[in-house]
């Protein structure tokens, strides 16, 4: 028995912000954004939208495609590192919006790796037999957590949400294997320092502590090193060669990371799904948004073998092998 992806969905907010709209930065610096990351535009949520709204819309589109009523979903797992609130779980509001009255709902925070962590937990729930259908969501609203004056973070992220509906399947299609890793020694590399128990609001020294920060050079090296090794580990476990992989959906952090992964893995770059030029880095949501678009564009056909790759804060990283 396998957990099969029976539908995908995605949603990005309407507002498009191009690089040239970022007038708080020197005009001479703006070309660096595309040059260093490949990002040309990103979408920002409306003031009335929260993370749960983005997730619910992606989920609704996914369920519509699958022709599945929300009341037939057994569980909702939402990967997010930009939740509505510290508590309760953002997934519970999504459950309410969707009307998934029979589902239990909870969040997972593995920053940009969250989608595969959620996918793996959903797969385990199905393999265990406790769930028949699990809606996996990943949604991020980073525009609320970025310092508008920080050139090292602000231009590279965008808002959006993706969804995957998993269902019990007696056949070869579905999730074949997933490998996940974490290294807490790197927990300072990507962070929002304030707002939690380590730095509650009454201990905040400067506004910058409330904003997302990362050590870009360290993240780049980590991503290309671990992104490569985890795919090699995943394929070796299933005795699959890179030549058998039809497509790769990797975290949309930086075009130079994707290019480097393609080179190191020996997989033609044309087999990688890429949308970061239009959406920027949507953190946990990026893989599910890219997967949905890749499928909708007709790039995935029955029999295709796909690899999903993630890397992000924690540090955390992982990969999944999926038979379509």
């Amino acid at each position: 028995m396998r957990s099969r992806i029976i539908a995908t969905g995605s949603y990005v907010p309407e507002l498009v912000v191009l690089n040239e709209h970022l007038t708080q930065f020197p005009v001479t610096a703006l070309p660096l954004i595309e040059q260093k990351t490949g990002v040309r535009a990103r979408h920002y949520a409306a003031e009335t939208e929260s993370t749960s709204d983005l997730a619910a819309e992606a989920g609704r589109r996914c369920l519509d495609k699958a022709h599945v009523d929300a009341r037939e979903v057994d569980a909702i797992i939402l990967a997010t590192s930009s939740p509505d609130r510290l508590q309760p779980a953002t997934a519970t509001r999504v459950q309410h919006i969707l009307g998934a009255t029979q589902a239990f709902a909870f969040d997972i925070n593995s920053v940009c790796s969250g989608s595969l962590y959620a996918l793996h937990v959903a797969d385990a729930l199905i393999q265990h037999g406790s769930c028949r259908r699990v809606l996996v969501l990943a949604a991020e609203l980073y525009s609320r957590f970025l310092n508008p004056k920080d050139f090292s973070t602000y231009p590279y992220f965008g808002d959006g949400a993706g969804a995957v509906l998993l269902e019990t399947h007696n056949g070869k299609e579905g999730i074949i294997d997933t490998v996940l890793h974490s290294d807490g020694a790197g927990c300072e590399v990507i962070q929002i320092p304030a707002g939690g128990s380590m730095m509650p609001l009454n201990k905040v020294k400067q506004p910058a502590d409330m904003y997302f920060r990362m050590k870009g050079a360290e993240v780049f090296q980590f991503a290309v090193t671990k992104g490569t090794s985890v795919v090699e580990e995943l394929l070796a476990r299933s005795n699959i060669s890179v030549k058998e992989v039809d497509f790769v959906v990797t975290h949309q952090a930086n075009i130079n990371i994707i290019n480097e992964l393609a080179t190191r893995l020996g997989i033609d770059r044309s087999r990688f799904a890429v949308n970061l030029d239009r959406y920027g880095n949507t953190a946990a949501a990026s893989v599910l948004i890219a997967l949905d678009e890749f499928i909708e564009s007709g790039n995935v056909t029955p029999g295709h073998l796909g690899v999903f790759v993630v890397f992000g804060g924690g540090l955390s990283w992982g990969a999944s092998l999926v038979q379509f």
Binding site: P26, K36, A217
Partner: protein, 78 residues
Amino acid sequence: MQNLIKATKAVFSEFNEASFQEDMLLAEIPGWDSMNSVNFTLELESVFGVNCNALQLGPNSTFADVVRFLQENGVDPS
């Protein structure tokens, strides 16, 4: 050079003030990269009130280059 050191520290929190020397390569500052170099120029503009669009910072740039630019624009970096 306290204001220059302060501006550097504001962008690069791991910068050790004791390591400051005018001939120090900016690339040796922990966390320095092309993106944060933009934040550095924005901080210089904020601290010294000077337009830094003409300040070109590359891999071989030093604090001395920054000091020279500021002085050429009528600012005392100390």
